[in-house]
Symmetry: C2
Subunit: 269 residues, 2 copies
Amino acid sequence: MTTQELVAQIRKKKSFLCIGLDVDLNKIPEHLLKEEDPIFEFNKAIIDATHHLCVAYKPNTAFYEAYGLKGWKSLEKTISYLNKKYPEIYTIADAKRGDIGNTSTMYAKAFFEDLAFDSVTVAPYMGKDSVEPFLAFENKHTIMLALTSNEGAFDFQTKKIDDLEVYKHVLETSKNWQNSQNLMYVVGATKAEYFKEIRKIVPNSFLLVPGVGAQGGNLEDVCKYGLSENIGLLINSSRGIIYASKDVNFANEAAKKAEELQVKMATLI
Amino acid sequence: MTTQELVAQIRKKKSFLCIGLDVDLNKIPEHLLKEEDPIFEFNKAIIDATHHLCVAYKPNTAFYEAYGLKGWKSLEKTISYLNKKYPEIYTIADAKRGDIGNTSTMYAKAFFEDLAFDSVTVAPYMGKDSVEPFLAFENKHTIMLALTSNEGAFDFQTKKIDDLEVYKHVLETSKNWQNSQNLMYVVGATKAEYFKEIRKIVPNSFLLVPGVGAQGGNLEDVCKYGLSENIGLLINSSRGIIYASKDVNFANEAAKKAEELQVKMATLI
């Protein structure tokens, strides 16, 4: 999917909500556990109930890998279902991958070709030649970690290299990489005051923003400093939406939570 | 596996060789392609022919994920085969994972429990709470990227935070994390002169060293500066060994290449 198509979808739906599909078998409604593939059935119900309120879904691969081969199959079925039934939806494999050149190409093939996601998250530590192989894929986005929403972000990301924080150095440097127009960045919502600085470096790039809701980030603050001319924000919520209820009507309850966010978003853009 | 058991195996075999199982269907012998699971058959042959010459195998997960569900199955079969037939062998999932707390726990479960690897590689960018969930697993090692063997290592890893290079800062900081005794580090062989500095910070930690062979690193130089009292080195070679030949006798040719390295290693410890 192109950035323009994503922006068009956001304007149409008046939503820049991304729903994180981080499925933990201990947290989903019990009645689903008797299904052959409870993870897929859960995702399918959530997607069918919320697809008109959000523009993107983001399965975190850890939650699928933890269940081994069965989990990988659930991931494959989820992305296939999305691509067939809701092709307008933007899809993000939250995988945080990154390796040396030819190995990154293999990861890119896994997520862009085999699973056919629109984008994948990557880690920046190994630098340019670990990320450029992802950027080479046309109409696919590579979403690089910049400033994350966890405590550990202060261990390295906010430390200074020559008076510039590591995460700003990451943003600056990556602008010069080949096909950098295919880059987006992860910026945690728990650090809303940082968005002002970030927008000075990447005024137009899309930012994927986790941490609204369960992790305490504030939507209004993020929008105040983070919105760009082309919106430029994808706000992710996972637990706050998908685990709204463990009852039989869990998907409707999830939709209510998603709608709360979408209604707020409509007033902000 | 405990560090002591790994060291005992190294002393017994006079080898600290790790063989990287980075299987690319375009590079393996053609006669294997007619098998139901060519990747597993290739790995099985390589393992059977080389297990007495090395102490560890390291499948890079990218090469399996690129083939989707089939690839994940090949990975599962490979680690099961290793754990059943050669339980003395140390196993490394080269996955370079890392995410916020509960998500890292899911990755740890995937590799330590579901697949039953002895260790997994992780990226440090997200800091303490992205790595400690891995460290909590007993008798499992977490191998964190410090200084990698690629060009991109100079983008961020060798830049200075308060007069200390980022990778040294990563080493120093991680020593204070909970269960840091379960940490090992990735240090590329192409930067042998750096090992002297690294040993000042982590004198006893095991270092996983890629980049000998295909990437140009020199074994003697790495040992000169990198060996510790308890050996403390795992030298990885992937392409240089497993793709030694595309003939029917490829596994024997691979064993010859592994033996060349093992013989050199025996003189160095």
